[in-house]
């Protein structure tokens, strides 16, 4: 049943969500695009929506996918799946707070996971760069001719522009507005 699928999919996302919104892009993408709920382009749209709405990417994705698949109840069910691991883990930790702080292996685990989350963010950059400038995600293993692609220079210009501009402390909302306006006008 779709409700169970939504719940269990976002339960998985919520259980492996490390490193903040951007790092979990590949995680959500695997969960949602691979099972056919969204195309990769639609997923990129969801990421864009998460930027122009308040709140983190994960909750935006859960709400959006849940709604699309099974209406408002679907959205609620997906959210519950996403939130449950946090509640369960927090409950455990609060009960055993004193011991938790001194567990050396926790630090070791996190030390291993931290570079992985950075790698995941870098992978997300590559994926979205492919999508916005090449219009598709490249499947290297399935497609031996992968190096045949055409670049959308307009999108590339926005990418490079923002890459440079973010050095100057511009209000992120203004930056986003100009990205959108530039896109609407010139792409």
């Amino acid at each position: 049943m779709i409700f169970w699928q939504l719940f269990s999919t976002f339960l998985m996302v919520g259980s492996f969500c490390f490193g903040g919104g951007f790092a979990i892009i590949p995680l959500i993408e695997k969960a949602v695009v691979e099972n056919g709920w969204l195309t990769f382009a639609q997923f990129a749209d969801v990421v864009a929506i998460s930027q122009i709405t308040p709140g983190p990417l994960a909750t935006c994705a859960a709400t959006f996918v849940g709604m699309k698949q099974a209406g408002i109840i679907g959205a609620v069910v997906a959210m519950l799946g996403l939130l449950l691991p946090s509640f369960v883990l927090m409950f455990i930790i609060v009960k055993f707070m004193a011991q938790f702080k001194h567990l050396k292996w926790v630090e070791a685990v996190l030390a291993g996971i931290r570079p992985v989350t950075i790698g995941m963010m870098a992978a997300a950059v590559i994926f979205f760069l492919q999508l916005s400038t090449l219009n598709e995600k490249i499947h290297f293993l399935q497609n031996p001719d992968w190096y045949h692609f055409s670049v959308q220079w307009g999108a590339m210009a926005i990418f490079i522009g923002v890459l440079v501009l973010q050095r100057f402390k511009i209000n992120p909302l203004i930056l986003m507005l100009s990205e959108g306006i530039f896109g609407g006008l010139f792409l």
């Binding site: 709140g55 590559i126 916005s132």
Partner: protein, 180 residues
């Protein structure tokens, strides 16, 4: 009396959930101001603890911190109230946008706007990778893990779960090596 506190807690997190764009970390500084300074519900030390624990467990950062802070302020029910306030604005807004998403196809300019935002967001993520990477990717150990992750994800399309579990195991293994 307690009801008043729950309502206050809800409103504070509703505010946090409505005004923070860009994810959990953006919400953290605003949360600190509200919880420690404006409402004096926590000390700075307690808030630092909150952040440390929230980052040490999986789960959406904004949700983790809301649960911890809500629990500290008003027990289990406080935790639920805080999370509800935090996710409600996003939930309602996205619900509406999702509903009209199908019809957006009639307005190709919206697709272009989204594409522009996507291209820009990609650049912002790239900036975050560099900024966070300086602290998070340390030495050849970190660099190796990071590189393997990128190649694994982009070329071999491995599921992130395996990479995260692998990273955790390697982290534990490495810490044992270092001790010897």
């Amino acid at each position: 009396m307690m009801k008043h506190k729950y309502w206050q807690l809800f409103l504070v997190f509703l505010k946090l959930g409505s005004f923070t764009f860009g994810g959990g970390y953006a919400m953290v500084s605003l949360m600190r101001r509200e919880l420690v300074e404006v409402n004096t519900w926590m000390t700075d030390d307690e808030f630092t603890d909150c952040l440390a624990v929230s980052q040490s467990i999986p789960g959406v950062l904004a949700v983790n911190t809301s649960i911890y802070a809500g629990y500290r302020v008003a027990g289990s029910f406080g935790a639920m109230v805080a999370v509800l306030g935090c996710v409600l604005p996003s939930f309602l807004l996205v619900l509406v946008l999702a509903h009209f998403y199908g019809q957006m196809g009639q307005f190709p300019v919206i697709k272009k706007v989204f594409l522009g935002v996507t291209a820009g967001v990609t650049a912002i993520i790239a900036g975050a990778v560099v900024k966070l990477g300086k602290n998070a990717v340390k030495g050849s150990f970190g660099l190796c893990l990071c590189a393997i992750t990128v190649v694994g994800m982009v070329v071999f399309e491995i599921h992130p779960i395996w990479l995260i579990l692998g990273g955790a195991l390697v982290g534990v293994w490495y810490s044992k090596q270092v001790k010897q």
